[in-house]
């Protein structure tokens, strides 16, 4: 069983994407906003008015940068804790009762060459699991009590290896940045619409109205991107990560069949009550716990295709 793409190549590729998101995306966003202001400024009748618009741009820029940085730092520092508490996960104690699961995670971590992550349990009879954490050193794996009970040891190893692959590949980090980026675009869009949408009723002057109209259009464009375009990009990235994590996980355990049969069992009962309302959490799980929308907006590739690829590796 030969892995099509080396683990390290995949990590490098992900690091480039993260670089793009963290450096290029904010710059692109600022350039977009700057151009919008410039366009509006150029329609101004006097140099003074033009100057006013530019001053406004430079006035709001520090705030936007501050908000972006703040949100990013927030997601880096407590993104994983937010996910875990959202899922109602509790830290698994290292005692005799959980010895099996502890050993399993330790062994897979050794084979993957990452530090042993913290283990969390979700009290739910369904079968699902997710990994979170900004870096391999601070990563956590959450497993439902159902998945521990209902899978055979080798199948559980396969699931753990899949999550370990997400950790090793820095998939979680990329996902957090994508979610934050999408959130920022939506936030700016919403602010534009609220601020200019409200004040337009007070304004009597035609020109002011048309400028406010432009800002509302700008806000709508951002919201359109946030709700109609960005999800497709995010889900496409997510589906690719799932395939890659299946392959890398199978490489860690040298046992694709175990993961394939685990996926078969998980696909029958993946619904976790505490994850019912979150699309973003759904993308993190080994199998989408929500109803499948199918196609381009799905967080995961079709399970049949995943199993077929895994069985093709043997």
């Amino acid at each position: 069983m030969i892995q099509r793409k080396n683990v390290y190549q995949h990590i490098a590729e992900n690091n480039w994407k993260i670089f793009g998101l963290v450096c290029l995306f904010p710059i692109a966003l600022m350039v977009f906003i700057y151009l919008a202001f410039l366009l509006i400024g150029l329609t101004a009748e006097s140099a003074e008015e033009y100057q006013n618009w530019m001053d406004l741009f430079w006035g709001i820029t520090p705030w936007i940068v501050l908000v972006c940085t703040g949100l990013t730092i927030l997601s880096v520092i407590c993104g994983d804790k937010m996910m875990l508490s959202f899922a109602g996960a509790r830290l698994c104690q290292d005692d005799a009762e959980h010895l099996q699961i502890y050993r399993a995670v330790e062994n897979v971590a050794l084979a993957a060459g990452v530090p042993t992550p913290k283990i969390y349990l979700i009290d739910d009879d369904s079968l699902n699991a997710f990994a979170t954490g900004f870096a391999p050193k601070t990563a956590s794996i959450a497993l439902t009590t159902g998945i521990i009970k209902k899978l055979k040891p080798l199948e559980l190893d396969g699931v753990i290896a899949h999550e370990m692959a997400h950790i090793k590949n820095r998939d979680i980090r990329l996902n957090m940045y994508i979610i934050t980026g999408i959130g920022i675009v939506g936030l700016i869009g919403e602010i534009l619409i609220r601020v200019f949408g409200r004040s337009s009723s007070n304004s009597r002057n035609n020109k002011g109205n048309s400028i406010q109209g432009l800002f509302i259009i700008l806000g709508l464009a951002l919201l359109l991107f946030r709700y109609l375009i960005a999800p497709f990009i995010h889900m496409a990235v997510s589906r690719k990560q799932e395939f890659q994590a299946d392959a890398t996980g199978a490489f860690f355990t040298r046992n694709p069949e175990a993961l394939a049969s685990a996926l078969e069992k998980i696909s029958i009962d993946p619904r976790v009550e505490s994850l019912d309302k979150s699309e973003q959490m759904a993308a993190a799980c080994i199998y989408n716990p929500l109803k499948n929308l199918g196609g381009l907006l799905d967080t995961h590739p079709p399970v049949e295709e995943r199993i077929k690829r895994l069985r093709g590796m043997i």
């Binding site: 069983m1 080396n6 683990v7 390290y8 050993r103 330790e106 062994n107 897979v108 050794l110 084979a111 993957a112 060459g113 055979k152 080798l154 199948e155 860690f252 040298r254 046992n255 694709p256 069949e257 175990a258 049969s261 078969e264 043997i314």
Partner: protein
């Protein structure tokens, strides 16, 4: 003139990148080796306890115990992945014969200490396997770079050499290749 400079600059950047990559590889190999080493040491520490426990129940089997002690000290004295791998393989075999004693001495088999040592040792063995697997993956990445053109030029220039794999016995290699069948 400018083109020569650009070409030269590209070469230098490439050299630095490959050199740093090789350094990183070597570091990864060292790290992976120390992980194996930790597990091996844990196994060495557990064996004297095991021998003491078994002695109390199966004094006649001193030959088997002797063999294990010998295999342990031999494994401890070996250095380098290749030699150590071979010695460890012998130790694994010797340990199996001790656990087989449990079958002929029911009292030993019922001993709590013996049972927990057996569990500990089998866990250690799984961990040695897992860390060896990672070690070999890292060594493979390093060796590929040392051998492949054009990175082999840099490797030769700075004396990077191929690293040894931590060998598997033929039996283990076969088991690793054949994924266990899961029945439904």
């Amino acid at each position: 003139m400018l083109i020569t400079l650009i070409v030269l600059a590209v070469f230098i950047v490439y050299f630095i990148a490959v050199y740093n990559g090789l350094i990183k590889n070597r570091q990864q190999v060292k790290e992976a080796w120390s992980t194996i080493d930790t597990q091996l040491k844990r196994r060495y520490d557990l064996i004297p306890n095991l021998v003491e426990t078994v002695k109390g129940y199966a004094a006649h089997e001193s030959g088997t115990l002797e063999k294990v002690i010998q295999a342990r000290s031999e494994a401890m004295n070996q250095t380098g992945a290749k030699a150590k791998g071979k010695a460890e393989e012998g130790l694994t075999g010797a340990l199996k014969s001790i656990f087989a004693l449990g079958e002929s001495y029911p009292e030993l088999k019922a001993n709590q200490n013996f049972l927990s040592l057996q569990q500990e040792l089998s866990d250690t063995e799984t961990k040695i396997q897992a860390s060896r697997q990672f070690y070999n993956t890292v060594v493979m990445a390093m060796n590929t770079k040392v051998e492949m053109f054009p990175s082999n030029i840099v490797a030769k220039l700075f004396h990077f050499t191929k690293e040894d794999f931590f060998e598997m016995s033929a039996e283990e290699a076969k088991a690793a290749q054949q994924a266990p069948q899961v029945k439904f």
